[in-house]
């Protein structure tokens, strides 16, 4: 193909695609491929060629979000045809004010989604803005970068349509009614009702090992006032099913302020004159509790209850045994 004909063909193709959309939007019934080719100029005459060309056009329309549906021509008919339903195609009226468009423009420029596969989501936010009436006002300097994860658009779509999704997670199949999407600690989570466990569960979107298979829309109701942020607890020592126990931890002045900010003021059981504090923690996961305390290094000491204090002493004593106590090459006891 010569260069001139390549350039010419972009305009021709654009014209054909535009006419194709107009014809499929305006038709009162599904159109057979032969009828489409008859009505839309620019398809090759030969059957195999126009069929291939139409498949390519369909793929392009899908890529830009134009929904073509394939339907039976008449009731009980085997034959199928194509059309575009106006209600699937058109963006409903949002009636955004100029100020609202300015605010959305600030948002898509201040917040960058990065690292996604294929089309960049930062670009997608901008495309969305154009559909909502274009760019209004100034851009903002970048204020936040969020990771983009390939599974997110499909999870978001299922969440918004209330469709159950299935996917592979840690090697096993999962079925989930997605109630919400949460970004926390640098990761995206999908939160919802786990269909096999009948319990609220959160899954890290970047650890989903398969594509997202969505079911029918409107398959479940979200609980009233569901808040993904409170559904996903962020105090891991409370995230367990062990017998609950209240622990008291003494924190040195150097870390007291941070620990109080992290746990909340109501966790402080005692303030000492040297600036250290004793905090109260409800523990149902002893391992996570131990990790929290060890993270404070020399600045924390488990005071109570005696069993948790003894746990910590035993853990540290095992590590403090002379190096090589665990011979290289042996597996850890399970």
């Amino acid at each position: 193909m010569t260069k001139a004909s390549t350039i010419g063909s972009v305009a021709d193709r654009l014209e054909r695609l535009t006419n194709l959309i107009a014809v499929l939007l305006e038709t009162g019934r599904p159109l057979r491929l032969e009828e489409i080719v008859e009505r839309v100029p620019g398809y090759p005459a030969e059957r195999d060629s126009y069929r291939r060309q139409f498949e390519r056009d369909k793929a392009t329309l899908r890529e830009i979000g134009v929904p073509i549906s394939l339907e039976a021509l008449y009731a009980f008919d085997q034959e199928t045809g194509y059309r575009i339903h106006r209600e699937d195609y058109e963006l409903p009226a949002l009636d955004l004010t100029d100020d609202e468009r300015v605010a959305l423009h600030l948002a898509v420029t201040a917040v960058r989604l990065e690292g996604g596969a294929g089309e960049s989501a930062g670009g997608a936010g901008r495309e969305a803005l154009l559909k909502l009436g274009g760019i209004e006002g100034a851009a903002a300097p970048t204020l936040a970068a969020l990771p983009d994860v390939p599974a997110l658009p499909a999870l978001f779509d299922a969440y918004r349509r209330r469709a159950r999704v299935t996917f592979t997670y840690r090697g096993g199949p999962r079925r989930l009614d997605p109630y919400g999407i949460l970004f926390r600690n640098g990761h995206w989570y999908v939160v919802g009702n786990d269909g096999d466990r009948e319990a609220i569960r959160a899954f890290r979107a970047d650890r989903i090992e398969s594509g997202i298979e969505p079911g029918q829309g409107g398959a479940f109701d979200r609980p009233d006032g569901f808040d993904p942020a409170s559904a996903l607890r962020d105090e891991p020592w409370r995230f367990g099913d062990e017998e609950p126990v209240e622990a008291l931890v003494l924190v040195s002045p150097a870390q007291a302020g941070w620990v109080e900010a992290d746990l909340g003021g109501q966790a402080v059981a005692e303030r000492r004159d040297d600036g250290s504090v004793v905090v109260r923690m409800a523990v149902t996961n002893r391992e996570a509790f131990r990790s929290f305390v060890l993270g404070l290094l020399d600045h924390a000491e488990v005071l109570a209850p005696p069993e948790l204090r003894a746990d910590m002493v035993a853990w540290l004593s095992a590590l403090a045994a002379p190096a090589g106590a665990r011979p290289a090459g042996t597996a850890a006891p399970s």
Partner: protein, 311 residues
């Protein structure tokens, strides 16, 4: 340079036409600015419009496009009167960006952004089940104010990797959120060099009354640049049991190799001793230290040091 392909131009056309249908007589240069293209690109797109329409493609069935004194008028384009729906990728990107900006402390929860997101959620469906948390930010507002006004400040800063609290004067140039934390990009007078500080480790901010020269351009933000191992950083090789498989997902590692016995052999970049101590104390028997040998002694020393509190 590559020429925009048919998909890009079609998307553009289906976005611009509805706006012109609603705003007859819009100026070419205003339209180009609004849709982020050049006037030339817009003119090339509009040149095609008169060839588009419905069978039998007689003049009354083709879109009529007139440009008079730089103003655009379209007739017979009613079927393109509305833009195409947002794709899931577009809807997600727009809501995520909006929710993130709304999560910045000090954002106006009753303002234009909140009302725009409300309208968007109404159209997209889904309601308020999407939440973005950018990270703990106790001292965010004074630091952002200082960066905006190019004010030098004194901060108390906890260096996590060395477990020490220091006071330093810094020139904060930019404040940004990445990878679940807020960061301050600043010149540090104590280090006499550029430093990235985590806002959640700032334990106090005081004004100095001094100003610094604002940077010519705001530095770029990327979560990729937050941890850059230096060649001189220590490499530590560990053998991890299955229950410690989270380590390579959460920390910077140079290599991960599954062993025949199911354990993972990882090489970690450990720039600071306290950071490594924490990790080894938490892992306990789930990690075997292969190399270097002195790290084994350091882990024992750390455990003994903590035990003195329980004497």
């Amino acid at each position: 340079m590559t020429r925009p392909d048919a998909a890009v131009r079609l998307r553009r056309l289906l976005t611009v036409i509805p706006w012109i249908v609603d705003h007859q007589g819009s100026r070419l240069d205003d339209l180009a600015a609004r849709f982020g293209i050049t006037v030339g690109e817009l003119e090339r797109d509009l040149e095609l419009v008169p060839f588009c329409g419905l069978p039998p493609y007689t003049p009354d069935r083709l879109i009529d496009c007139e440009i008079v004194d730089g103003r655009v008028f379209l007739r017979f384009a009613e079927y393109f009167g509305r833009p195409v729906r947002l794709t899931p990728t577009e809807g997600f990107a727009l809501l995520a960006a909006g929710q993130a900006l709304l999560a910045v402390p000090g954002a106006d929860e009753q303002g234009s952004l909140a009302s725009a997101l409300g309208k968007l959620a109404g159209v997209l469906g889904g309601g308020d089940g999407m939440a973005v948390e950018l990270g703990p930010a106790r001292y965010l507002e004074p630091l952002r104010a200082a960066a905006a006004a190019s004010e030098r400040v004194e901060i108390d800063y906890y260096t996590f990797g060395r477990d020490e609290l220091t006071t330093r004067r810094i020139d904060p140039r930019a404040v940004f959120a990445a990878a679940g934390q807020w960061y301050v990009d600043a010149f540090c007078h104590r280090a006499d060099d550029d430093r990235l500080f985590r806002v959640d480790r700032v334990r106090g901010v005081r004004p100095t009354g001094e100003h610094f020269d604002a940077p010519a351009a705001a530095p770029g933000v990327s979560s990729g640049g937050i941890f850059n191992p230096r060649p001189s950083d220590r490499r530590v090789t560990l053998l991890l049991d299955a229950d410690a498989a989270w380590v390579p997902e959460s920390y910077p590692v140079e290599s991960v190799e599954a062993q025949p016995d199911g354990r993972l052999r990882v090489v970690l970049v450990a720039s600071e001793r306290a950071w490594l101590e924490r990790l080894l104390l938490r892992l306990g028997p789930s990690a075997e230290i292969l190399d270097p040998a002195e790290v084994r002694a350091e882990a024992v020393e750390a455990a003994r040091r903590l035990l003195t509190r329980y004497g």
